[in-house]
């Protein structure tokens, strides 16, 4: 797979941010992220786009194991 293609990079970053990747692919992708600032930025944008999905969740008191 050619990881330099912009469209593929964008799509893979989106898949990673949503959580669609199978575990092995995710590990491989995380390996790529370490050496690829551009890809990290792409992922960060998607994550920032999606994090709003969690902002409507009411905070929950955490469990006894905490702290």
């Amino acid at each position: 797979m050619n990881y330099l293609q912009p469209e593929l990079r964008r799509a893979l970053a989106a898949d990673y941010a949503i959580g669609l990747m199978p575990s092995t692919a995710r590990r491989r992708f995380e390996g790529l992220l370490l050496d690829d600032p551009g890809l990290r930025a792409e992922v960060a944008k998607w994550q920032e786009s999606l994090v709003g999905l969690t902002s409507s969740l009411a905070p929950k008191r955490c469990p006894s194991a905490c702290g």
Binding site: D15, L20, A44, S56, L57, R61, P63
Partner: protein, 212 residues
Amino acid sequence: MNGTAAQPGLTSQYSDEPRARRRCCVWSVLISSVDADELRHLLAQCALGDRRAFETLYRKASAQLFAVALRCMGHRDHAEDVLQEAFVRIWNSASQYDAGLSAPMTWMVSITRNKAIDQLRKHRDEPLSDEQAMALFDPTPSAHEQLETHRDATALQRCLDTLEGMQRQSIVTAYFQGASHSELVTQLAAPLGTVKSWIRRGMERLRRCLES
């Protein structure tokens, strides 16, 4: 089984919980009101090995992250495990946090979700009974319902509304359940190409909307 089909309520009663737990976290603080600058500072201190900063970070962020873990896992016990693993990862990876790329809560939520997805997949890899399989693939539109109920006109919610129903559902389902493409195919009863297309188009539309 792993309770992915469970739908933790948005409001929770704590009356049955031991008093000793109350010191855990500032659970009434909403994500948006947690000071991002302070979290950034705390993460920077964690990267230097400052345990006190880590404790403070935990107090500030754990309630929101626990809500994320609980939403993904559906079970308090599993969510507790995920939360603990997430904070270990946050502590160990604090030096990798790039304040120029993402907000601190976004980074921590992403770590928590990844840990949740690992757990969900691990449970899913175990053989399922038919009933469990049915429960697992039971559509859970609760995330969207939550958005409907708690509409506060954030940009994302506005933009989600611009998506077609299946685009929205496939993204939200994958996001909270850690469903892979093939699981979405089963759950949404649609061919792989269609599912991929919903996701791709939905995500691009979402991004364009958010950037406009």
